[in-house]
């Protein structure tokens, strides 16, 4: 029986930790710091509640439990499946979105914490008939194979170029360190970011 209890502990996600307290991991501690930045005193959950998320400029109403991540909410409930769930732990960057102009891992942010913030997803880069130059740049430079890491990489690159409009090759290598690819597309990724930087200036 004790073994089974052990399993239970193993299976508790970090969201479970935030909700249920108990042991504090590094990741949970970070999330708690963010939580402390919120207005104190308001108790939310554990039941689902309706929130409004500002996604790509549109207010979207959605019912979430407090433990749900922004990533799962986008994917499972809001039909925004460009961001992918891969490591689910803030390592690989496949879930990258831009929140209040900051490149963020959607797997490591609760949906509740995204309320009132401007969320940009990969879908915004081809919205309203306009295509951001980083999208074709990934194709032109074959910066993708299976493509599962690609939307996250594209969003990380977009955020990087927003901050660094004139990047050097070395800066590109430093700037995209938060994303991982298994097929090995980095040679193309570096070229794609440089190409997009040129196009953005033109």
């Amino acid at each position: 029986m004790s073994d089974h209890q052990d399993l239970k502990k193993q299976s508790v996600s970090r969201r479970g930790f935030v909700q249920g307290a108990g042991a504090v991991t590094g990741a949970a501690a970070l999330l708690e710091q963010e939580a402390q930045a919120q207005p104190a005193g308001k108790v939310m959950g554990p039941a689902a509640m309706t929130i409004t998320l500002n996604v790509n400029g549109k207010p979207l109403k959605v019912s979430v439990e407090p433990r749900e991540t922004l990533l799962d909410t986008l994917r499972h409930k809001l039909e925004h499946t460009g961001a992918k769930r891969v490591c689910d732990r803030g390592t690989c960057g496949a879930c990258t979105v831009i929140v209040n102009n900051k490149v963020s891992y959607a797997c490591s942010m609760l949906a509740l914490d995204a309320v009132g913030k401007k969320i940009q997803t990969i879908e915004s880069l081809t919205a309203n008939g306009k295509t951001h130059p980083i999208v074709p740049a990934f194709n032109n430079n074959d910066a993708q194979q299976c493509g599962y890491c690609t939307p996250g990489f594209v969003m990380a690159a977009k955020g990087f170029l927003d901050r660094n409009p004139n990047p050097t090759y070395e800066q590109v290598k430093d700037g995209l360190g938060g994303n991982l690819c298994r097929c090995g597309t980095y040679v193309g990724v570096r070229q794609a970011v440089l190409e997009a930087a040129k196009k953005l200036k033109a």
């Binding site: 193993q10 880069l125 599962y148």
Partner: protein
């Protein structure tokens, strides 16, 4: 039976062009729908409860409390009372519920009592394996003792390459719905045409009831052929829930624990050579594990297979760990590392340049000329003459630079493939094939072949793949896809064109064998002004369309496909002997090939393979915990992959020329993924002057090799 050929290299307009992939914008805009992106109305989310124990008997399992939890629609117990589980992560039960959190809550409420049994999870010390070790028996060729007597130098070394995982970014899993008779199956698979039959067998239903569809796959690397038990159980849960769609993907820890591994390889290798480097004898004692059922046997000595006087002993070790699955070029990267490491150690002992030793011994390979050419070319690309130094003579500073060599071979014959080509009256062409695009560019290559064959622009060709209602095409494994699909689509397009030429030949007043389809026109050979436009030709079809099939049969390959390539990769690294950190400066790959349909996509394959090799050489290792029996690093933080900054510069040269082109199409995905680990490990040895016996070459292993305490550090 017509004979089929490829158009001459110099006359081609589309094949051989560096075109961007057809589905590239779809992918880079996030619009591409992988099976794991499908979220239909009424979707149920399923999760897997897996065993915390590496070896245990399930004494009882109670799902009563879980069944009563909100949102729960179905629970399937895999490990019923009495089941012996043999690895941590083994499947215990599945739960489907209206949301993923609800399913997780319910999975945690399942009460399982285990009788824990002793486990064995680390194979590095063969002496501890006891009855978990199964010897394959000794293989002897020639006179080994005499061979060692003839040697001017003999080296003995121990080398190890660990179990690694596939770490597909899209985890294993599927969305599936069982409605009435029909099962709609949306897997993440390398095997669109075959996986339906596999699921049918496990569910004991006719294969005709299973409709498979998949537009994109987020990585497979050899691990995604079967429908797996999760396919079966999710189908059953859908049935339980009245046909509601059920979605289940392994979480990351499960993906890295039970979704397949590449077997480890440990070897003690003794090798002898004459003073000029010519090999005289080889003796290896090796062992490996791929999980509970044991491990594969790397072909040793690799590539130099015809060398005289060999004695091989191999032992497969069973551990309580998740099972092996094919991993890009099964057994080859391990064999290449073991062999090339031993050869470079021998070269160092003989005070010879390893290029000389490799060159001296290519006589023992099936393709000496290829390897000589490649060694020379790679040496130029990596500036060997300037940057290489004898082992350990890397200067006085704490940063030591070194170069190393890795060698590869592979077959790559195209698999069985059938293709249906349809020419419509509006001039569009549809291609239907039950294949899949793993990210290699299969869609794009099919379209290039058809566009070339019919003389129409790429945008007139609609490629329909990823569905088992199309003509069957082989699973994508072993670099068999490009040969299979290029041959079948070439043949189907040739046959379809033949029918169209029948239709237009009377108007142009010549026999059809004097007609050609080029530049969107059907014209008379040698008199291109006498022509009819492609559109006008197709309009003659009226309400009909042309349909033709093409088939590739690997047993009768004909002139379109071929097999057998070699490859050389070289690495240039800098090692900090104070911290043990290895930095990649450069990697070069010279890759033998056949006809290359799209050099841009081919180079991406090789670039990617070099990067995968960097991961395996410097970072990747599945670490088992002897105490708990579990994988310690079943996440992407501690199961390390290289990032964009870790790879140095990569330079790829595809050996595209008329001679190679005439061989026909040969698969590429595996051969380029073989030699890199050896090259990097050898470069480290060259840099620091001693062999780091185990990959990945992590900083602690570099420091152990340099300063001792190795056994203590590795224990």
């Amino acid at each position: 039976m017509a004979t089929y050929t490829w158009p001459d290299m110099k006359n081609r307009k589309v094949i051989g062009q560096r075109l961007s992939r057809l589905d590239g914008i779809e992918k880079s805009s996030g619009k591409a729908k992988y099976s794991s992106d499908l979220m239909p109305d009424g979707l149920l989310h399923a999760v897997l409860l897996s065993s915390p124990h590496a070896h245990a008997i399930v004494r009882s399992i109670d799902t009563g409390a879980a069944e009563k939890m909100p949102g729960v629609k179905s629970i399937r117990v895999v490990a019923k009372a009495g089941t012996e589980v043999q690895w941590a992560g083994a499947e215990i039960a599945y739960v489907a519920a209206t949301s993923e959190p609800a399913a997780r809550d319910a999975a945690r409420a399942i009460q399982v009592n285990y009788e824990v049994m002793p486990h064995f999870v680390k194979e590095d010390q063969i002496a501890r394996a006891g009855n978990r070790a199964k010897a394959a028996g000794e293989q002897v060729t020639g006179d080994v003792d005499q061979g060692f007597k003839d040697a001017a130098a003999i080296t003995e070394g121990e080398y190890a390459i660990p179990v690694i995982t596939h770490c597909c970014l899209e985890p294993h899993g599927q969305m599936i719905e069982w409605k009435g008779e029909q099962i709609n199956f949306y897997p993440s698979t390398q095997n669109v045409s075959g996986i339906g039959g596999d699921l049918a067998r496990s569910l004991n239903v006719p294969a005709s009831q299973i409709k498979v569809h998949m537009d994109h796959i987020g990585g497979g690397f050899g691990s995604k052929f079967p429908s797996d038990n999760w396919g079966k159980e999710c189908a059953n849960m859908s049935k339980d829930a009245g046909g509601a769609p059920v979605r289940m993907y392994l979480d990351r820890a499960q993906e890295l624990t039970i979704a397949g591994v590449r077997p480890s390889h440990f070897a003690k290798i003794k090798v002898g050579a004459k003073a000029d480097g010519t090999l005289t004898a080889w003796e290896s004692t090796s062992w490996s594990t791929g999980g509970f059922t044991g491990g594969g046997m790397a072909p040793l000595p690799y590539v130099f297979t015809n060398m005289p006087n060999k004695r091989l002993n191999h032992t497969a070790v069973s551990i309580n760990g998740g099972g092996a699955r094919a991993w890009r070029a099964p057994n080859h990267p391990q064999a290449s590392f073991l062999t090339c490491a031993a050869l470079e150690d021998l070269a160092a002992k003989l005070n010879l340049d390893p290029i000389e030793v490799f060159s001296k011994n290519v006589q023992f390979t099936p393709r000496a000329e290829t390897y000589i050419r490649q060694l020379k070319r790679a040496a130029v690309m990596i500036d060997w003459q300037k940057n290489w130094h004898p082992r350990g003579k890397g200067g006085n500073g704490s940063l030591k630079r070194g170069l190393g060599i890795g060698i590869a071979t592979w077959g790559g014959l195209g698999h069985a493939s059938r293709c249906l080509a349809k020419i419509n009256a509006d001039g569009t062409v549809e291609i239907m094939m039950g294949t899949q695009d793993l990210g290699t560019g299969t869609r794009t290559c099919i379209a290039q072949v058809v566009s070339e064959t019919l003389g129409v622009p790429m945008n007139m060709v609609v490629v329909r793949i990823g569905d088992n209602s199309y003509p069957a095409s082989g699973a994508s494994g072993g670099s068999t896809t490009i040969g299979g699909i290029s041959a079948s689509s070439r043949k189907a397009a040739v046959e379809a064109l033949d029918q169209l030429l029948d239709l237009v030949a009377p108007q142009l007043g010549v026999p059809k064998d004097q007609l050609q389809a080029v530049d969107s026109r059907i014209s008379v050979k040698g008199n291109p002004d006498k022509a009819i436009s492609w559109k006008a030709a197709c309009q003659k079809l009226g309400p009909k369309s042309i349909e033709a099939t093409g088939e590739n049969n690997p047993k009768q390959p004909g002139g379109l496909i071929n097999q057998g390539v070699g490859g050389i990769q070289m690495a240039d690294v800098t090692v900090d002997i104070e911290t043990g950190v290895v930095r990649m400066n450069k990697m070069v790959a010279v890759q033998d090939c056949g006809l290359i349909v799209n050099p841009k996509l081919a180079e991406s394959q090789v670039n990617g393979a070099c990067i995968m090799s960097i991961c395996a050489a410097l970072m990747e290792e599945r670490i088992m915990d002897s105490v708990t029996g579990r994988v310690l690093n079943a996440d992407m933080e501690f199961y390390k992959l290289a990032g964009v900054k870790d790879i140095g510069e990569i330079q790829v040269e595809m050996e595209i020329d008329e001679v190679n082109d005439k061989r026909g199409v040969i698969g590429l995905g595996e051969p380029c993924a073989v030699g890199g680990v050896a090259a990097i490990a050898n470069a480290v040895a060259n840099a620091i002057g001693v062999r780091v016996p185990s990959v990945p070459v992590t900083p602690d292993r570099v420091l152990s090799a340099l300063y001792g305490n190795r056994m203590e550090r590795m224990a």
